[in-house]
Amino acid sequence: MKYSYYPGCTASTTAVEYGLSTEAVCEALGIELIELDDWNCCGATSGHALSHELATALPGRNVAIAQAAGLDMAIPCPACYQRCLIADQRFREDEDWRAEMEELLGFEYTGRARPRSLLEVIGCNLALEDIAARVKKPLAGLKPVSYYGCVLVRPPELTGWDDPEHPVIMDRLLQAMGAEPVSWSYIVDCCGASLTLNRSDVVVLLVNKLVQAAKDAGADSIVSACGMCQINLDTRQKGHHMPIFYFTELLGLALDLPGTDNWFKRHAIDPRPLLRSVGLA
């Protein structure tokens, strides 16, 4: 299985452990990731906040680069993923814009390279039985909550691979790893990450509400599929010491891949004491 890989800006910086674990896990599962040549930032929240044009033109350039390879795009960051979906939709529906972009960037839009989220690539395109069969270190005793955050399954007209209100893929993936995911009511509630630096007062309230809710549900950790959510929950919670994992990190741990320590030591809240307490580290 081959994908064009769009890591996004955070995969080498604030979410470096997400980038590292994504590459390790995909290699172990036989998913070949070919990094998009010369990709740029998607503009994220600031792009669509200030400019209707940049909101689609910036991610549009990445969708354009992916067309030549003709492979679906695997995108770990939900913000990048959503912006690429919206740009891809505009390529399909706005012929004038498509022609203008094709001329400027020197490509032809074929629609063969669809943006896909990494969780979709691993959780939907692989058989969960196959993943379970490869697990060498079942995560028994770990009781996480799955946390999708906001835009991973929204807007549902464009995502469509999991339920927008009660998504299940991540829970099933965690079960395949041998963990015991706990259900809770905040699985698709936004953590406010795009306001984390500029209205931290608002974000501290949101983050601590989420972490408290996970605790109340009986969870020992939160599992994220987003570089923005993870760092926001990891650094803005107060007095909870709730570890925030990337799903790829837990998958790497369950597959017993080397180098998991290098991921976990980059967390603000070290998850290794928890893993030791359930005999996993």
Binding site: T13, T14, N40, L104, C150, R154, S194, L195, H267
Partner: protein, 217 residues
């Protein structure tokens, strides 16, 4: 004039009856001739509708958007109020409002709206219109970060956190409180080596700059 005494309306209604009786259950939507009546509408509402691509007139104020909005508590007008105010054409208070700037674009409202109105593009449209009309965004720090973020992409093609943060702090009016509320997170990220010293650059930066030029930035 009562319904029964209006022969034209009576004829229209009997047409509807005839048409609907032929319609099978799965295609039950019928264009009622009487819905062709034109109502006077605010030009502001029409502009928001045209630019956002969302039919703001469908809102019947169930407030599901407000209830699901993570940041509604910090807004001066809640999301459902924003929609109602658009319908009423209350341009100036909306363009001065903090609500569009506190919208995080999480799409909870649009996903849950029974009338399929996506509020995120509506909130974006209000931000564009506020800036075009020359209003200073009431959320100065939010606006400062957006500008620093987009400048960083214009300069490198990718976001470079270190220089972006410096620009953000310089642009925001309240340097002291920004540093105070972020210093612990900043130190943690530095210690965890998550803030890069050197930027990553896009090779074809000319293309990115051209996209900015065409977007008028």
């Amino acid at each position: 004039m009562s319904k029964a005494k209006n022969p034209k309306l009576k004829e229209q209604m009997s047409n509807v009856k005839r048409e609907t009786s032929n319609v099978k259950r799965e295609t039950s939507s019928v264009q009622y001739p009487i819905s062709n009546i034109q109502y006077p509408t605010s030009s502001f509402a029409l502009e928001v509708q045209r630019r956002s691509g969302e039919n703001v007139f469908r809102c019947y104020y169930c407030q599901k958007c407000t209830v699901g909005c993570p940041t509604a508590f910090a807004m001066d007008y809640q999301p459902a109020q924003v929609l109602k105010m658009i319908q009423l054409g209350l341009r100036e208070p909306l363009l001065k409002s903090s609500a569009p700037w506190l919208c995080v674009g999480c799409e909870a409202c649009g996903t849950r709206c029974p009338n399929e109105i996506r509020l995120a593009p509506v909130m974006d449209t209000l931000k564009y219109m506020a800036l075009e009309a020359g209003y200073t965004p009431p959320e100065t720090t939010v606006y400062a970060l957006h500008r620093a973020f987009l400048d960083s992409i214009k300069f490198f093609g990718r976001v470079h956190e270190t220089t972006m943060l410096v620009e953000y702090v310089l642009r925001s009016r309240d340097i002291f409180s920004i540093v105070r509320s972020n210093i612990d997170v900043g130190v943690t990220l530095l210690l965890k080596r998550k803030i890069p010293i050197l930027p990553e650059r896009v090779k074809a930066l000319g293309q990115v700059k051209e996209l900015y030029k065409r977007a008028g930035r």
